[in-house]
């Protein structure tokens, strides 16, 4: 009897291994095929340019943040630990720790500015996700599948911009006014800015860009030489957060 049981366990274990191995092999070969497929030049490469001369974030303006929160059912938690943020304010010296000097004016150092997911060309969060719940589209947008995410938070450890949030508690009761056109999330999954892909699909600009009364936020296609973002990047000095890490961030700040 005990021999039978052992035999069964051996066979069951072996079969499980074969199935897992097959899937792993498929994934490897799929990866090879996908690389060849992306050789064609994608039509768009979305990017955002934030003009810090125009932005009045440090004077208490949170229009872009409020618009984003409304559009995406971003919950509001009182405890800092449980915060969920897609676009939020950060002091200049935190967002750009390596810029500025001891002689930079205090007013500038503490100037706050909006930060969000950089939709990197080479996103570490995508690289580390064990289930492909987060991936990069051909147009550069880093996407998130709330239904596949297992909540391991490896992507949060990998993101050098702190752009990702985890739903430590059920977010639904904490959404101020529900937008029925966008999904709410469940507890235990990660989320972050999606560059308003749901609006881009309808030909509209991201909610934050549309909400900015100062027109400090400009959104556009980097592959289009005539686009507004390209014009700004050609004529003004732009900086990006931590480009030295090789992530290729696509949110530019005009200083």
């Amino acid at each position: 009897m005990s021999m039978d049981r052992r035999r069964f366990l051996e066979v069951a274990g072996l079969s499980a291994l074969v199935v897992a191995g097959k899937r792993g092999f498929d994934a490897l070969t799929d990866g090879g095929r996908a690389e060849g497929a992306t050789e064609r030049r994608p039509a768009a490469r979305w990017a955002m340019v934030i003009d810090l001369r125009k932005c009045v974030n440090d004077r208490g303006c949170t229009d872009c943040i409020a618009a984003c929160d409304r559009a995406h059912n971003v919950p509001h938690f009182d405890e800092r630990a449980h915060e969920v943020k897609w676009i939020w304010r950060e002091p200049f010296e935190k967002a750009f720790a390596d810029h500025g000097s001891p002689y930079t004016e205090d007013a500038f150092k503490s100037k706050s500015l909006p930060v969000l997911c950089n939709h990197c060309d080479n996103p570490p969060c995508v690289r580390v996700c064990p289930v492909k719940a987060t991936w990069k589209r051909d147009d550069g947008i880093v996407m998130m599948d709330y239904h596949r995410c297992i909540g391991c938070r490896y992507c949060m450890a990998a993101c050098p911009y702190g752009a990702r949030s985890f739903n430590w508690l059920d977010p639904r009761p904490r959404v101020k006014e529900l937008n029925p056109d966008f999904p709410t999330r469940t507890k235990g999954v990660v989320e972050m800015c999606n560059f308003c892909e749901e609006r881009l699909a309808k030909g509209r600009a991201p909610a934050c860009v549309e909400a900015c009364g100062e027109q400090a936020l400009v959104f556009g296609n980097l592959h289009d030489p005539g686009s507004e973002v390209r014009r700004l990047l050609r004529t003004r000095h732009a900086i990006r957060r931590k480009p030295e890490l090789g992530t290729g961030p696509n949110v530019y700040y005009l200083v």
């Binding site: 792993g24 498929d26 995508v126 064990p130 990998a158 993101c159 949030s165 508690l169 999954v189 931590k242």
Partner: protein, 386 residues
């Protein structure tokens, strides 16, 4: 499994022990059900410190699991007879440790019902995918090896020949589990405490110190509780291994400290500052880190001095110190220290909550329960033959 019935007989003390472990496990299960209902917000974790006590235990225990190789390698590759009696103890320790690792990962998941997505959507780009592959492979290897060798021993026959290549395979596999676990951390841009090629070697050195230290303590306990003598030579040889690996581990840590502080690059330094002196008025880990350092130094004095090392009482003290020192350093120190300060420079303190501690204790109790049952089986088979 072979000889499981041996674990079902025991004296009053045995059953009291099992009962106590079951109580700890039951309390942990209750806490876990609460966590399942409320979400991971029940822990002390936050947006800035996203991994804590659970992942710290996981990281430390991968090392304990890998350490079986220090008895398996000399015995099977070099035919070092003195380890003959304790090899099975090392393998069973590995089984319990890997099981705890998997449980710690599981309780850390935000969506535990979806963990099989790792198999449904295998992602070779992700180190976590590989970590799961090597950990479950290692569990399987040790379960097969332990089962087959103990089964053969029970029938008083030599183990089948085919098991030897499996045992040989388990040796590099043990190294792989800890290397891959180090890669989980050391390949992340913007996490400066972890972004060092020395992490995997450091993990291995500390593993081969903490694991054998625990094995020495376990053999000492087993010797008192059962008619089992691992032999003076085995314990002394293990203590020599602990001595060397602990020296190498401390050496590696000092290498890290030199590079970080002589180069004076602010970001890597800030993590060490948070750990050892505190940052922005937050210093929750400072006493722990200094305790870890002190334990490491005292244990090295006891281990390096031949007279002290030969004294089993002092050796036991040294082993407890090695284990505790590395549990702090490679657990909470490494994991929480890696998250503070955050990539944006924010200092967010992290303190585990009561439910979190209860779940952690329960998983340790599961590991100890497994170890108790497995050791009981192994020793009962031995006693039968004696």
């Amino acid at each position: 499994m072979v000889a499981l019935e041996k674990a079902l007989v025991g004296n009053r003390r045995y059953w009291t022990w099992i009962g106590a472990l079951l109580v700890v496990i039951a309390l942990g299960v209750l806490s876990y059900l609460r966590q399942l209902q409320f979400g991971l917000g029940i822990t002390g974790l936050s947006r800035d410190v996203t991994w804590g006590l659970y992942i710290a235990q996981f990281t430390f225990l991968v090392g304990v699991a890998a350490s079986a190789v220090v008895v398996v390698l000399p015995y099977y590759l070099h035919n070092y007879r003195a380890f003959g009696k304790i090899t099975i103890l090392g393998e069973f320790l590995a089984i319990s440790a890997v099981t705890m690792c998997l449980l710690f990962i599981f309780v850390d998941m935000g969506q535990p019902g979806r963990v099989l997505n790792v198999l449904l959507y295998p992602t070779p780009d992700s180190i976590m995918f590989w970590d799961m592959v090597v950990l479950s492979g290692y569990l399987l290897l040790n379960a097969v090896i332990g089962g087959i060798t103990l089964g053969a021993e029970r029938k008083d026959v030599p183990p089948p020949r085919w098991i030897l290549p499996v045992i040989i395979l388990s040796i590099p596999w043990a190294v792989s589990i800890h290397t891959v676990t180090a890669f989980l951390y050391s390949g992340l841009p913007g996490r400066h405490l972890w972004l060092t090629a020395l992490l995997a070697p450091r993990f291995l050195a500390s593993a081969f110190a903490s694991g054998p230290a625990l094995l020495i303590l376990l053999t000492m306990v087993v010797r008192r509780l059962a008619r089992f003598d691992p032999g003076q030579e085995a314990i002394q040889k293990l203590s020599l291994i602990v001595t060397y690996t602990m020296i190498i581990n401390v050496f590696f840590v000092l290498m890290e400290v030199f590079t970080v502080f002589y180069s004076q690059i602010p970001e890597p330094m800030s993590h060490f500052q948070f750990l050892f002196v505190g940052l922005d008025g937050h210093a929750p880990l400072v006493p722990w880190m200094w305790a870890s350092m002190a334990l490491a130094v005292i244990s090295l004095v006891l281990l390096i001095t031949p007279r002290y090392r030969a004294n089993e009482r002092l050796l036991a003290v040294a082993c407890v110190m090695v284990f505790a020192s590395l549990w702090i350093d490679k657990g909470m120190g490494l994991i929480v220290g890696g998250f503070v300060p955050s990539p944006l420079g924010h200092v967010t303190p992290y303190v585990p909550t009561l439910p979190e501690v209860s779940i952690t204790l329960a998983i340790w109790a599961v590991g100890v329960l497994m170890l108790t049952v497995l050791y009981k089986m192994a020793l009962a088979v031995r006693e039968e033959l004696a």
